[in-house]
């Protein structure tokens, strides 16, 4: 069992003819993902080198009508990404995963507003995220597939490389993953911790959860409250940025502490108060979860 993506996923790749889109589509196909179509406006009907078996359309509408796509992954450059997300929603895609990094905040504010009003049933993940993978079934995004292993740990993370780090640690300890969701670090985004946690809480294939947060915002604090109230499965966590200096933007992510809010220490305190085991260092994420699991069994 899994959440979001799996054997039923019929993927359309928006921006498949670009270098990133083509590279990751090949990787996804190798992993076993059902990629049913690609979309690049103006290039419909053409063949993408190395991806001749995947039909390329001008519009997402055609990908849905002719190829039965139900999930989209977006690799188009930032100036065109907001348009691409709304095109997918309008075409009837149910799950839209945006990998693109660097979309202006103003664009995302508008996109999320339209999605909330017009397409409340559509689930979006990202932007600026590694994507979603259900090990052994379906890989949608840029994560290295081989570090994953099918199993029962649901992973949700704001950080890309830290997701790889925890998955690698879990796999090394023999703890496979049900689904790993990278929600991305942008300030305005689709799925947040709470929605991901709710999916894992309901999923019979998920027996425990690991979440990775970062400084900035208050998503982790709200997630801690949600876990306390609604999640009965064991949860481990890690928060990056404990030593980040205030007021500095740490990289492309939305990770910034300002006005004394969003510090890692506040988030760690909130998680611990909700009974969640917080890993003291990023090297101990896997062992932290393993410890609480063995204590329970």
């Amino acid at each position: 069992m899994s959440v979001l993506v799996g054997y039923d996923t019929r993927l359309v790749v928006q921006g498949m003819s670009g270098s990133a889109g083509a590279f990751h589509t090949k990787q996804a196909l190798e992993y076993g993902t059902r990629v049913v179509a690609g979309v690049t406006p103006g290039k419909g009907g053409q063949k993408v080198a190395g991806l001749e078996q995947v039909p390329l359309y001008d519009t997402v509408d055609e990908a849905v009508q002719h190829a039965g796509a139900n999930t989209s992954v977006i690799y188009v450059p930032p100036p065109f990404a907001a348009d691409a997300i709304l095109e997918a929603a309008a075409a009837g895609i149910e799950l839209i995963i945006t990998i693109t990094e660097g979309i202006p905040v103003r664009d995302m504010v508008r996109v999320q507003n339209v999605l909330a009003n017009e397409y409340p049933h559509v689930t979006t993940v990202g932007p600026n995220c590694p994507g979603v993978i259900t090990p052994g079934q379906c890989k949608v995004g840029i994560m290295p597939g081989y570090i994953h292993k099918p199993g029962g740990v649901g992973v949700v993370s704001r950080s890309g490389t830290l997701t790889y780090e925890v998955v690698h640690q879990l796999t090394a300890l023999g703890l496979g993953q049900s689904t790993a969701i990278g929600i991305g670090g942008d300030p305005v985004k689709g799925m947040d911790f709470i929605e991901a946690l709710a999916l894992f809480a309901e999923d019979p294939g998920t027996s425990s959860i690991f979440m990775i947060g970062e400084i900035g915002g208050d998503s982790e604090e709200r997630a801690a409250q949600f876990i306390k109230d609604h999640v009965r499965k064991p949860v481990g966590a890690f928060i990056g940025g404990l030593t980040a200096p205030p007021g500095k933007r740490m990289g492309h992510a939305g990770a910034i502490i300002s006005g004394g809010k969003g510090a890692a220490s506040d988030k760690i305190a909130a998680l611990e108060a909700a009974g969640i085991a917080v890993a003291p260092t990023p090297a101990e994420m896997g062992t932290t979860l393993a410890k609480i699991l063995s204590a329970r069994s």
Binding site: P104, V105, S159, T161, M250
Partner: protein, 398 residues
């Protein structure tokens, strides 16, 4: 991206947000010549001389002076221009003042705070205002959150005049001040939206005894991701306000932030980069920088990143921590080897590689003949680099 107050005020003028009359000067001569021009244009003897640096808290550091006469104003210009201005935001070394704004003085009735930024919880731009203008707004927010009034902007409909009327009422505006406030707010919210601002602060926003509402200050930050559609704003960048290493990093599209410690870090991914700083501190070390080479870096980019780190004289040891996803470990290895061959390596280098093509990357480093300490995992690497930096630091102190 940040800009100066005078540049922010020029943008305000363009959008119809009232600001005091003023002239910006890049030399002391220009500043002195501006004084009588401002006095004459504004029909007042009182002028304000304001140091133009990006950091806030300028008043507290002596960078703002209200002068009642031309002689006083000239003295203020001479004192402020070129001074090393130290504010709570500049750090102890301060910032050299290379531009000043000479502005008309106004008969202030009341000072307010007004700010605009994205509220992450709602995903909407929010206007914040307080009758406690001029003060440290973060203190007010912490001790009296009820004194911060908020209006959120509907992304579809945009800012509405009723919100300005409601906000004005709550701020206690009346008469001409209340009547003029909706127009003021319409102009301001349009500017925020059209210019892709990420932060806009007016502290203070003032009402005058002759019935006007003006922005006495202007702090504007822009969304870096949107600068591609605002070439005219990119022109406003002041390189002297930015750290040289950070500028060099920007050229290569690297995320780099200079810090106080002595352990140079090169990592891929913002989250992993922050966590690498965390684990270095956990084992008793101090990171010299935050550096995220990004997901799809080339060997050339890695070389540039490595050179930036080694150019920092404080760096006593280097920790390369990579989890290759899209980023392949052999690319990192190639970049590091090239950089070391070009600029040499005078401090210990600890490398932890994991992920795509890890065996190839490790083999390349091992065969390069370079003096590299290999780390089994992140914890091992952090401990080794902290120990190495401590040894060098001690040796240097002899």
């Amino acid at each position: 991206m940040k800009i100066h107050e005078y540049q922010g005020k020029e943008l305000f003028r363009k959008y119809g947000v009232p600001v005091p009359f003023g002239i910006a000067a890049h030399t002391i001569e220009e500043a002195l010549a501006a004084i009588p021009k401002v006095q004459e244009a504004a029909q007042t003897d009182i002028v304000v001389v304001k140091a133009q640096i990006h950091a806030g808290g300028r008043g507290k550091g002596g960078g703002v002076k209200v002068a009642k006469t031309r002689a006083d104003a000239e003295e203020a210009v001479k004192r402020i221009f070129g001074m090393q201005l130290i504010t709570p935001q500049t750090g102890p070394e301060g910032k050299k003042v290379q531009r000043v704004l000479v502005e008309q003085g106004l008969a202030i009735e009341h000072e307010f705070y007004l700010g605009m930024l994205l509220d992450r919880a709602t995903g909407r731009v929010t206007v914040m205002a307080s009758i406690e203008g001029g003060m440290d707004i973060e203190e007010v927010a912490a001790s009296h959150p009820e004194k911060i009034l908020k209006e959120s902007i509907d992304p579809g409909a945009g800012w509405q005049d009723y919100q300005a009327r409601r906000l004005g009422k709550r701020l206690g505006l009346a008469g001409a001040h209340a009547a003029g406030f909706p127009k003021f707010m319409r102009a301001l919210t349009t500017a925020y939206d059209e210019l892709d601002c990420s932060l806009l602060e007016i502290n203070p926003l003032i009402t005058t005894k002759d019935g006007r509402v003006l922005a006495l200050d202007a702090k504007i930050n822009f969304d870096d991701n949107a600068l591609y559609r605002h070439p005219e704003l990119v022109e406003l960048r002041d390189p002297s306000e930015e750290d040289a290493s950070e500028l060099e990093a920007k050229k290569w599209d690297l995320s780099y932030i200079q810090l106080e410690g002595n352990i140079g870090c090169m990592v891929n991914g913002a989250g992993l980069a922050m966590s690498t700083m965390d684990i270095i501190k956990y084992y008793g070390g101090q990171p010299a920088n935050f550096l995220d080479v990004g997901g799809g870096a080339t060997a050339e980019k890695v070389t540039a990143a490595f050179k930036i780190i080694t150019s920092d004289p404080e760096v006593k040891a280097i920790f390369v921590n990579i989890f290759g996803g899209i980023m392949k470990c052999d690319t990192i290895a190639q970049g590091v080897i090239t950089a070391v061959k070009e600029v040499g390596l005078k401090v210990p280098l600890v490398v932890r590689l994991e992920g795509t093509n890890v065996e190839l990357g490790k083999k390349m480093l091992a065969e390069s003949g370079l003096n590299i300490v290999a780390a089994a995992d992140m914890a091992d690497g952090a401990q080794k680099v902290v120990a190495a930096a401590a040894t060098i630091q001690k040796g240097g102190a002899k």
